[in-house]
Amino acid sequence: MSKQTIFLLRDTSLTQDKTRDFQILFLKVARDLGIEDSIQAVRASDLGIYDKGYVIKDLTNEVIYANLQESDIEKFLKATLMGEGSVDEFKYTPDKCQLRIVLRNCGVIDPESIDEYMAHEGYCALAKALTEMTPEKVIEEMKKSGLRGRGGAGFPTWMKWSFARNSLDETRFVVCNGDEGDPGAYMDRSILEGDPHAIVEGMILAGYAIGAQRGFFYIRAEYPLAIKRIEKAIAQAYERGLLGENILGSDFSYELEVRLGAGAFVCGEETALIESIEGKRGMPRSRPPFPADKGLWNHPTIINNVETLAAIAQIINRGGEWLARIGTEKSKGTKVFAITGKVKNSGLIEIPMGMTISEIVYGIAGGVLGGQKLMAVQTGGPSGGVIPEHLINTPVSYEHLAEVGSIMGSGGLIVMDEDDCMVDIPRFYLRFCVEESCGKCAPCRIGGYQMLKIIDRIAEGKGVEADLEKMKRIAEGMQKASLCALGQTAPNPVMSTMKYFAEEYRQHVQDKKCRAGKCTKMVQYSIDQAKCKKCKLCVVNCPVGAISGSREEGYVVDQVKCIKCGTCYEVCKFNAIVRK
């Protein structure tokens, strides 16, 4: 078989798929030119390029051509295979693409094999640090890189490390915070499962830098596969002498073990996490003293997020300046996001800091599902806020996101379209925080509960004007007086929606209307007899049998039985279901 050039074909309009016709035509033209044997034309499902007409990727030479027409095929084939003419004008380079540093090995190597990790520069950073660098030099390199904590707050990693390093107490600990609890976030799990050795290496390097003797992985028990793979990675590292006494012949000795969290959201907060590892109930301590000064068993402890630790080996390998060249002035490097919600391609992505939210949603994730209009983007989970449509050109960095009233958070990014209610969404997050509040401090325990009661009232159509003002007051109290970040940030989703979607709150309170139909207490479904074609589709699909009647007399919705799920509204082809 002679060497073939392989083309992937794809029609990238979101509305209809005409790729099959294009492929038939493509092969016909190739046959006419007598070159059908030297090519293979394959229909691709997705090339990550959208709204660019027909796209052809020359897989053999790794070149992408976009915006082609059916009439261009002959010209294209002649140019690429017969050397006649040129089709350079169709060449396309995706301007916005991912940059994988933390995720570089995820999906590439076998996570359960230390040898594969080592074949991908694994443990090189450790060898370099232990033999050529002093702990101070490692911290210096981290400082140059400008890496900031990826757990959400964005505290400079090097600073945390040097606090612990300079402590007079010689017993020190490192903790990996793998207690990921935000709804819709799974970055840490994917890294733990996809590249466990990178985090083990990061943990050893962190231990070396601060002079620790022991390190703990704190991973929630809901991640059994992540736990299994980390435990396996630790065992392999012990076997090869990368953990234990005198690592690689140096004076440095270090132990690692895994501790499981039982899934309390508050245990992701560092002081509560410390209590949990110590075997106590997971409740935050008051700060100061900070953990870097007095943490586990009152010894200096640094707690880093999974994503932060996964980046460390690369920084040591390539130098701090390398990372500092990526990103914005104050936010360096890349950030992993888990994109979920009403988006075409949900998934895990890693982008350089400074890319805008719009570029992420439209450029990488393929836009809003079903071509709907984007309403808002939520970042930071229950601690974050919403970013409305008119601000989606905000660049992703700690500062810019804080400016618009949200936070970077750990990396959940939820896309919302017009079917989402901006009262219902913060209500969900607030309920989550109230359920997860540990109850230690009053502002969070009582304030959260009272806020939830008010927003429930608004969603049920019983809100009054004064409620909005009252919520603001409670929120301010919580933000100022709560003991830990859970309480301090719990009002954020409510506050930011009240700021950007004030009109929607007004409708709920004054008009007792929910635009999206999500606040079910305010919604009533009925059938417009003039539009109804008596097709019975709603009758068949109603899950509770609330629609009855006959062809002659017409159908009606029994308001007592109706659970307001909206199924009839969605299935009706004639817009005969009225939602009020």
Partner: protein, 118 residues
């Protein structure tokens, strides 16, 4: 079995050794992949290639990130460029074995790509 303790040289040599990798099939098996049926897909690859006598490395890997297209399978075989297949259920897995592995033809409507730098 006692494994030899590594030295610095071992680690540096391991990085440098870029042994040419033979043909392989890699199935993304993280929690997300498993939830989408990746374990079944993996089993089909192992059993079918054995039944047909196709010799190929079948390994597991982590999550590549295209969650909407799980289970994901990366295939590099028969001198063809490496491609990633998405939404690989048992049927598509069969098709990949029959078409790609046995006959060197890529499978239509199953390839997913996303532009990225590493």
């Amino acid at each position: 079995m006692k494994t030899k303790k590594l030295t610095k040289e071992d680690i540096l040599n391991a990085c440098k050794a870029t042994a040419p990798k033979g043909d392989y099939v890699k199935v993304g098996i993280s929690t997300c992949g498993v939830a989408a049926g990746a374990q079944d897909t993996f089993n089909v690859f192992v059993e079918e290639t054995k039944r047909l006598g196709i010799k190929i490395d079948i390994t597991k890997c982590g999550c590549i990130g295209m969650c909407y297209a799980e289970p994901l399978v990366e295939v590099s075989a028969g001198g063809l460029p490496t491609v990633t297949y998405g939404k690989v259920d048992k049927n598509i897995a069969q098709e990949i074995i029959q078409e790609h592995l046995a006959h060197g033809r890529l499978v239509d409507d199953a390839i997913f790509e996303m532009p990225m730098n590493r």
